[in-house]
């Protein structure tokens, strides 16, 4: 089938999409999906599967798509992945399954992510034909109680798998709805909230009880969970306090961390202010510092909120930018300006404490540093000051500090506060497991899901060994 080109997912036109929050990528039509599936060579070694953190039988589900058995394809994916509509949208397939595809050598790997998304969306549009069976009813005698903390990618995955193993699972979430970073971090135009709600309903249908507005560590301590009868605890509380640059002016009004900015908009609907009452203020010129996926989300949100100029400031070059290529391309199409090889030196404000300008310096690339990327070096005399109204710092964050802070006996790495776990994801506290960005996570949704999945298996082994 080598004569069929790689199918491209249709996207909304940049002019129409850059002022609203509706989804940008539209997904394959059934015909496109079948065409794309037929390109798969079903090679024996299945290298794509090695690139999947949750171990989906990729050629298996693609073969079913090629036969137009979309319901079967959905079942096949769900054997391993509880959240396919999310993964199909936000996984970095180009460095995972699609990177390993034998057709990647010719730059045309199978569009595995788009196919996964197609199947998940098809299933949602055809209730009763896929895997929407009542698994909860199938498991009659539930075993020990297990607590899962944090309803983000790691927690949702661990909870779903633990329920499938037959445990009584309670998923505790401190916010008012599920998803963690999938809800407060990733904007509607990349991952619609209805998709997240749908996947959450699926996790609940497996028998998981979700309790919101409970901050483990404060509302109930980790010790308290054991007193309440939980036999094991999985901590998936994710990323926490944002990193800042440490330059003058960072606490001026108009400087947001990426987390604050995105939480205001995505979780609290500030883009619908004042109907929703949480405000966000951005002005006309917005500079986002950083070039990861979160930075791209921030800058594209700023544009949609009405910024005339929204730009990325990054001290390395485009090559080193950690964001997915597709995200950088989408941002570019929407009129985002990129100032690569530029480092912020200070932010200046008015006497009322409001951001007025930012001073930057140009950089050039030197020798490779410990990360293997070429080290940016300042270009002497290249400082310049430009007017800005808003600065968003999107340079990463540390692990959430709350559970280590409130729990004796959970060891953290003194360097960065990450919870230390063994190869079975167990912390230094017996029966307490952790995975995702609260540990030495890789910072992607799918890596956190993979950790949640492996930790759930480890918890199952641990509890079986106890009895």
């Amino acid at each position: 089938m080598a004569n069929i080109p790689r199918q491209k997912q249709p996207c909304r036109e940049p002019s129409g999409r850059s002022r609203d929050f509706k989804e940008v990528a539209l997904g394959f039509t059934p015909e496109q999906a079948v065409l794309e599936a037929k390109r798969c060579m079903s090679c024996k070694k299945k290298p794509c599967c090695n690139g999947c953190p949750v171990g989906i039988d990729i050629p298996g589900f693609i073969e079913l798509i090629a036969k137009r058995d979309f319901a079967g394809a959905a079942r096949k994916i769900k054997e391993r992945n509880n959240l396919p509509a999310i993964c199909g949208r936000v996984c970095p397939q180009e460095i995972q399954c699609e990177f390993n595809c034998v057709l990647a050598a010719r730059k045309e790997p199978i569009a595995i992510g788009a196919l996964e998304r197609f199947v998940a969306d098809w299933e949602a549009d055809h209730p009763g034909q896929g895997d929407r069976v009542n698994v909860a009813a199938a498991v009659k005698d539930r075993g020990a109680k297990v607590a899962v903390v944090g309803a983000g990618p790691a927690g949702l995955t661990a909870a779903a798998d633990l329920a499938k193993y037959g445990y009584m699972v309670t998923l505790f979430e401190s916010l008012t709805s599920s998803g963690g970073v999938l809800r407060y971090g990733i904007p509607e135009f990349r991952l619609p909230k209805t998709i997240l709600d749908r996947e959450t309903e699926y996790v609940k249908s497996l028998g998981v009880e979700i309790r919101y507005n409970i901050l483990i560590g404060r509302t109930i301590t980790v010790e308290g969970l054991f007193k309440d009868g939980y036999r094991a605890v999985f901590i998936g509380t994710g990323a926490g306090l944002p990193n800042f640059l440490g330059i003058p002016g960072e606490n001026l009004n108009g400087v947001y961390s990426a987390n604050e900015f995105l939480t205001r908009v995505n979780l609290m609907h500030a883009y619908e202010f004042p109907v929703y009452k949480t405000p966000v203020r951005i002005g006309e010129r917005v500079a986002v510092v950083g070039a990861g996926n979160t930075a791209m989300d921030c800058v594209r949100v700023a544009k949609r909120l009405g910024a005339k100029d929204a730009m990325i400031i990054y001290r390395r070059s485009a090559r080193e930018a950690p964001a997915r290529r597709a995200e950088i391309e989408h941002a570019g199409e929407e009129g985002i300006e990129f100032r690569f090889l530029t480092a912020p030196l200070s932010i200046e404000g008015s006497d009322k404490g409001e951001v007025r300008s930012m001073t930057c310096m140009k950089m050039e690339l030197g020798e490779a540093d410990s990360s293997g990327r070429r080290r940016p070096l300042p270009v002497k005399g290249s400082e310049y000051t430009m007017p800005v109204d808003t600065v968003i710092i999107a340079i990463g964050q540390g692990p959430n500090p709350l559970i280590p802070l409130t729990t004796k006996g959970i060891n953290t790495d003194p360097k960065n506060g990450e919870v230390v776990v063994d190869k079975d994801y167990m912390t230094s506290m017996k029966g307490v497991f952790a995975g995702g960005d609260i540990t030495v996570g890789e910072g992607t949704v799918i890596a956190a899901m993979g950790a949640g999945k492996r930790a759930a298996a480890a918890i199952d082994r641990y509890l079986k060994a106890l009895t």
Binding site: S174, L175, T176, Y184, Y212, N213, I214, L215, R218, T219, I220, T221, G224, G238, A239, G240, L241, P242, F244, E250, N251, L252, N253, G254, Y256, S257, N259, E260, T263, R264, L267, M268, H269, F273, P274, V275, Y276, K277, T278, P279, R281, K352, G353, E354, N400, P401, L402, L405
Partner: protein, 270 residues
């Protein structure tokens, strides 16, 4: 949903609500707060737990109308309910025997002292409470404090009640009369806490201030509540809300707390 059990109007713009929050009250300790969201459209706003009933599973909060969300909360009556109450949040106050503790509350900030006064008395301290406000109407909980503290001093800016003047005048009087003070705990508007800190600085008496930064998630994730303490960025939701007054950059926080003034006005008009 959290039912409102009882409502008391303490002053024209200040209401006290007793609310069902059985999960919050289990672990709640003096000095902690909750974040409430009235309904789907509301902001998340922090409120101190100023009283609690562990047996009945209720907490009491005192709210002053300052913007849209606080106005909406003050309009609630028994039988109404609040959609979300998250907590207890923040580090509890340090409770031990200090000796003589002066507790200073400004306006509605007095509410935050209540559970702490009670606990400090139980721990064997001598407690002097100074309650200050602009005028008589805004002095709250005086009788309750009189029942708890060893001495209660009331000041009003306009002299309509108690001593005319500021809480700092009352504090200076305590210094003058030779009171040996081991600790000062202060909660109220930022300019007041800054003034109390400066009044105390020459005496170098340990002082704790309770900061009211603008919070968002309040769980250690977003950084909205950052403030500068001892030259370092700290987060009042997980590192606070109480900090060493001498180390706090009040001027910066004063500006930061005004960052949505324009939007707050807009929200009032809706």
């Amino acid at each position: 949903m959290h039912s409102v059990i009882e409502k008391t109007v303490l002053a024209g713009s200040i209401s006290m609500l007793k609310v069902e929050a059985p999960m919050v009250v289990r672990e709640a300790k003096p000095g902690q707060f909750v974040v409430v969201r009235l309904d789907e459209f509301s902001e998340r706003i922090p409120l101190t737990i100023c009283d609690m009933d562990k047996d009945k599973g209720t907490i009491t909060m005192i709210i002053q109308e300052a913007g849209r969300s606080t106005k909406d909360l003050c309009s609630l009556n028994p039988g109404d309910s609040i959609m979300d109450v998250l907590g207890p949040l923040g580090n509890p106050s340090q409770i031990k025997k200090f000796g003589t503790v002066v507790m200073i509350g400004g306006g509605v900030g007095s509410a935050e002292l209540l559970t702490v006064v009670r606990a400090l008395k139980e721990a064997g301290n001598r407690v002097i409470t100074i309650l200050g406000a602009r005028n008589r109407d805004l002095i709250i909980l005086e009788e309750t404090f009189r029942g708890l503290a060893d001495e209660v001093i009331v000041t009003t800016d306009d002299g309509s009640y108690g001593d005319k003047g500021l809480v700092t005048d009352a504090l200076a009087n305590l210094f003058k009369r030779g009171e040996k003070i081991d600790r000062i705990i202060c909660c109220g508007p930022l300019p007041m806490m800054r003034a109390v800190t400066e009044t105390s600085r020459p005496k170098a008496i340990p002082i704790t201030v309770s900061l009211n930064a603008i919070l968002l998630d309040a769980t250690g994730m977003c950084g909205s509540c950052r403030c500068t303490v001892a030259g370092k960025t700290r987060f009042s939701c997980v590192d606070g809300p109480e900090f060493d007054g001498y180390q706090v950059d009040f001027d910066e926080l004063l500006l930061r707390n005004k960052r949505f003034l324009g939007e707050e006005k807009k929200a009032m008009d809706v």
